[in-house]
Amino acid sequence: MSASTQLGSQLVDLCSVLLLLCCFAIVAQRRLSACVDLFALQSAFLAATAALVAFLTGHKHIYFAAALTIVIKVIVLPRILRKVIERLNVSRELGMNINIPAGLLICGALVIVAFFITQPIIPLGYLLTRDSLAIALAIILIGFFTMIARQKAITQMVGFLVMENGVFLGATAAAYGMPLIVELGVFFDVLVAGLIVGIYTHRLQDTFDSVDTSTLTVLKE
């Protein structure tokens, strides 16, 4: 490996680690608006990672995906979510299924699991982004955990979006990104999911006077 690709590889690692740190910040965060801001920050790091990979490999279509990430995940989706939070007048998560220190410890364990699973695969790769695969898997697991641990529909949506960021990072790490048409489809899906959750939380609020999804498990009021 030449010096410049080694430096590039280190930079990609650093960016993915920042993505992972954002995940932990989301898990540790009670305030809903801060969760959304952290998601926007994470997406910005993701766009930076993608642009870096595009620059290092010369795959032009990754630039396009990075630009789409900025437009949809840094600007549009956080704006939708902020608007929902504003209108619902909920500022912080009170009831959590798992308290924050325990949640952080579980996430630490999830990172170790992700690294343990990918350990045999990573040395087989030859791409300069291959180390990010472990981090991507960790981000997916933490996003999934966020969806389980939180009760408010909005933080569950943030968990879903974090998972999606992890998938994107994984695709970039394992195969220098998916074909453009697949990425376009995924972005469209995510945008629609954001809109649907926005409407769905409104319906929840109207029906139950709360956005706590655990009320949905009760058959009768």
């Binding site: 280190q10 690692d13 924050i100 410890l105 180390d131 472990a134």
Partner: protein, 318 residues
């Protein structure tokens, strides 16, 4: 000749620790005051405070035992001893044979232990409360501190601080800090805020006994005992700042004993400590004090960060 230089270096390091620590405290206060649009006290006010306290007659409660009068000396001595183990402006501190990182951590813990005992000794309610809080914070901060320092020690392959700093100072061509280092730095920074009683954990400027941690343990102290305790707290802050700047940013530290290298090392060190003190002042102005029950969450986050630093060391190779 070599041994004379070493002795001189130890004396200079000792003098620097003792004289610079009140200045760092004053600098943080000044930064906070300026950010609140106040003029603030002079940068040298802490020196005047210490001088005043040393001249005053101490008043000692009749319910205290010998621990109360011995504790300030033990706290002060253990903190200064810890400060002599770390490289300050020369990467090979002459006393590095005396102890490694683990000795450093537990010298500081010894000081904390006697501080806690002293808080309990006078039997006042606030002192006991401060001691119990300090015990919680110290207990939770210790694993995070040990793990973050161990991840650095793994990178260098040694627990000797001089070796760690010397190796990372000599490293060339590394533009990107390894992720493990960044995580360990973040963890150690949170631990620093907790251990030195800075704002998100404890408010050093508070007058409200109910929210105190460090100050509550000192409520019964006066005169030279209080001066020693305050000075020791300043030195502890400086020790943590020095540890951070020299382990994570060892640029410019003197790697040889040439006079020019030492002069550059000294200047760069002063600049880096001032910059970090400025950062702490800004953080103290930006954040409110955490509720006591949130402090374990913050220290839990520091623990997770240092755990990740270890994981990344093994998986991303540094």
């Amino acid at each position: 000749m070599q041994s004379i230089i070493h002795i001189v270096l130890v004396v200079v390091q000792l003098a620097l620790l003792l004289t610079l620590s009140p200045f760092v405290v004053g600098l943080i206060r000044k930064v906070k005051a300026r950010l609140q649009c106040r003029r603030g006290a002079s940068l040298f006010q802490p020196y005047a405070d210490l001088a005043k306290l040393f001249r005053k007659q101490p008043v000692i409660s009749s319910t205290t035992s010998w621990i109360f009068t011995a504790a300030p000396y033990i706290v002060f001595a253990s903190t200064v001893a810890a400060g002599l183990l770390i490289p300050v402006f020369v990467s090979h501190t002459p006393l590095n044979f005396a102890g490694n990182i683990i000795a450093l951590v537990y010298l500081l813990a010894l000081g904390t232990f006697f501080l806690i005992l002293a808080g309990l000794d006078a039997g006042s309610a606030f002192g006991g409360m401060g001691s119990s809080r300090e015990a919680i914070v110290a207990t939770l901060a210790e694993p995070a501190m040990m793990l973050s320092i161990l991840s650095i020690a793994l990178t260098a392959g040694s627990t000797n601080l001089s070796t760690i700093v010397h190796q990372s100072a000599l490293m060339e061509g590394v533009v990107v800090a390894p992720p493990a280092h960044l995580m360990a730095l973040a963890a150690l920074f949170i631990v620093t805020l907790a251990e030195t009683g800075r704002v998100p954990v404890d408010n050093p400027a508070t007058h409200l006994e109910l929210t105190m941690i460090h100050e509550a343990m000192l409520l019964e102290y006066s005169g030279r005992y209080l001066a020693l305790m305050e000075w020791a707290a300043g030195i502890k802050l400086l020790v943590f700042l020095t540890l951070i700047v020299n382990v994570f940013a060892p640029w410019g530290i003197a790697t040889s004993l040439a006079p020019s290298a030492i002069a550059v090392g000294l200047l760069v060190y002063l600049g880096k400590v001032a910059a970090l003190a400025f950062v702490i002042g800004v953080i103290e102005s930006m954040f409110a004090k955490l509720r006591l029950f949130r402090v374990p969450e913050m220290l839990g986050a520091a623990f997770i960060l240092s755990l990740l630093a270890l994981v990344f060391f093994y998986t991303l190779k540094g």
